[in-house]
Amino acid sequence: MTPQSFGRAIRRTEDERLVRGRGSFTDDAGSAGLSLTMVRSPYANARILSIDISEACEVEGVRAVLTYSDLPGRLVEPLPLLIPHPSLVAPRTQYILAKEHVRYVGEAVVAIFATDRYVGEDAAERVIVEYEPGEAIVGIDAALGANLVHDDVPGNVAADHAEHVGDVDQALVEAPHVLELNLDMERSMGSSLEGRASHATWDRHGRKLRIQNATQTPTSVRFAVANILEIPDEQVDVFAIDVGGGFGTKVIHPWPEDILTAWGAIEYECPVKFTEDRVEHFISSSHERAQRHQIKVGFDEEGRILGLDVDFVHDNGAYTPYGMIAPLITATQLPGPYKLPNYRVRFRSVYTNTVQVTPYRGAARPHAVFSMERTIDRIAAFLEIDRAELRRRNFIQPDEFPYDLGMIFQDGRPAIYDSGNYPELLEKVLAMIDWDDFSERRSQTPPGRRRGIGVACYVEGTGLGPYEGGHVRVETGGKVQVSTGLASSGQGHHTVFAQIVSDELGVPFEDVEVVTGDTRRFQYAVGTFASRAAVMSGNAVAEAARLVKEKAIQIAADALEANPDDLEIVDAQVQVKGTPARGIPLAQVAVLANPLRYSFSEAARAATQFAGAGDPNEPPIKPGEDPGLEATGWYSPIRATFASGAHAVEVEVDTATSEVEILRYCVVHDCGRLINPLIVEGQIHGGVAQGIAGALYEKMAYDEDGNLQNASFMDFLMPYCTEIPEVEIDHLETPSPLNPLGIKGAGEAGVIPVSAVIAAAVEDAEGFQINHMPLFPSELHEMRLRNAEVSQ
């Protein structure tokens, strides 16, 4: 009998193609046709006075050069605002090509369609744009000043939002102790190794626009393109076959280039491709993470938090296509695993003349955890209580679930934690890193080094709705075809969904083939983000498989003249329970499921022996039935499921160079039932690496004129293997009661508490407060100097 697939470290089915160099990334699609090259703004804030394209048009191989005034139909409108919110008082989105004004370095101004990118770049150099530059607004201080990014947005405030539980003012007045913290974090970005890309072909005869797009959400790209080009949805197919990393950036849609390639393919009746280069990725794809927080916390002698008041400012860049989702996540995820009877949060999301900010893996949770965990550590230091003990005293306890935070989560539903065991997470990670014996290890620190240890806990809302669907179909050849609408960018979906279907249906794992992110196969989906794919599509394909199983058993019961309740499916055969001799292979049931029985195959010929005469007074397909052994299942949860974890790190800091070295990095992670531990651990490894990158190496170095000075891998210090330590992982499996598989999301978890935990360890090593991330050696050096001055 086929062993259960769920829970096993099965090797990924994706890899065979990929290691042979047979992946199918968007830029791999044919090189025939036209290539789209963009001319981008060199100014952060400027009026466009004139654009001269005459010389560019002369370049041989150039098919067309477009400016805003050349755009037809709905292409002249600003790009859609994807997620409105009542507190988003002044949303602004960019135009496909800049209209009169540019608001960040990198904004698209002119589009060139040419035979290839080399020719396109030649032409781009010959486009002459005259600008009248204005003052650039860079950073939160400038945003809160007098100059405006959008003339009609006073104070540069895109959103102003507040929520509270309990009575914070009262709690702070009554609290025996009150502390204040000022914390901030710099920008970084997802930086997938494949940039954005789109390849559109127009089939004039079939009237189909086929778009391969490096997106996390093909169904939405499809609807966006169809709407903006004003053509029927049915004429547009979008698929993402292989996507070279997404990390949130590729959730955003449509990008100007998505629309221009699609429009160009129809207009010029040939394939059109856009492939972003690395510099473009830095200056025209989304960034994230810049936030500044002011915190006031009141607590008792035991360190129990009585009231927490948080006011923060979020730098959203020049536009808000994704609304205010990122800061809203900080606001609602900040309480983490702790009980906050009185909590108030207010944020303002402000415009600056920089690249737009949209969620990047972790999606503003790293700030939330940084804020909360710094606060906890500060209280511990003040009361001289062990930091782990202080956490214990504030945890939500295992018997308190479901736990209602009293706030509204990003899905518009109440933030209610479904399950978890925070004390056990903490104890496990403390044991792993050997927290209690640290002082002994510290005493052995070599000269010229300082040693520190830190711990951080987090809760992550995952598996957000509204829904995903899955389709399962048993072919008469015996293969099981599965599809779901959301796209994959390295998460191993093809493997884990096959594991789920294999178990639910009772077929060998090897017989299940999965397709994701292809509107030709599945038309309704939300997308891959918010650590939702496994929870949402996993449960949807499981449901579809259950429906197929039910149908197969019904058909087989008729054929075998058995009671459906007595049947089971084992190794792809429907059989009387425990009696393999009395059964029909699933492939043959698939033949029986279709009253039209041309015998294309051996299975079909064999199946006909089971086909009874049927009732001559009934139609071959009875009302309410469909032909084929297939079904569509949906999963739509009432609300998000909350995963959690604890990280601990031991660091050594060099007294001369201020470099931080990670000695040990430990993770205990709870994402409910594990579908595939190999894949979950891979997600954690990658997440922690991105977290370390953000904590120690990466920032977007804007100068005061809004030029991104490190827009290359030469200057943006994305870590190589030399910077990333080994990560030790242990799991806790607290099933989610919200979905039948008991799973929670795992994609983003790794990155979330890293800045918090590294700050804690460095603070422990240095003996002064760490309030600012990332911690470059130069930053840390400056902090040392400042602290030396203060203590003198």
């Binding site: 090797r11 990924r12 994706e14 890899d15 065979e16 990929l18 290691v19 042979r20 160099g21 047979r22 992946g23 990334f25 830029d27 791999d28 090189s31 002369e58 370049v59 041989e60 191989g61 080399y118 030649d122 010959r126 997802g190 930086s191 997938s192 190794l193 494949e194 292989d242 996507v243 070279g244 990393g245 990390f247 280069d277 690395r278 960018s489 390295g490 998460q491 191993g492 190999l678 894949i679 651990e681 891979g682 997600q683 490894h685 990658g686 997440g687 922690v688 690496a689 991105q690 290359s712 891998f713 030469m714 994305m718 190589y720 293997c721 030399t722 990333i724 080994e726 990560v727 790794g750």
Partner: protein, 164 residues
Amino acid sequence: MNAEQSYEIRLKVNGETQQITAPARRLLSDALRGELGLTGTHVGCEHGVCGCCTVLVDGAPVRSCLTFAVAVQDREIRTVEGLAADDGELHPVQEAFKECHGLQCGFCTPGFLMTACALIEQNDDPTEEEITEAIAGNLCRCTGYQNIRTAVRYAAEISRSDKT
């Protein structure tokens, strides 16, 4: 502006000699991917830093995004498509990356495979430092490198046991 001059360029890739017509500035990465349809070689930065475009030229790892196609005429070029044996059997590095979950999105993977192949074909018992040294010029944004290291170690092990 008129079209630039094109050249006939002979490229010997994965043991096969092919002729392309391309201007002098055509990068090897673009020639492999565009003219020859060998899209297994990826381009992640176009400025020689990420290593995605790594191919072997006469056995040594080379950044094809920094190399003009015309400059490697008649040299032995090996790409990810040329790693597996003629009968389709995977090269030890391919086998190991699969086995050890050394890839997620797979975009950086061809570059790592070629880099690891060059290492292991020269030295099938590398130390941890030698592994680090070999792969320290390749970026991966998905894996955190841990499983990549394990995969390179395992690839060396497979290739040692293949020889015995």
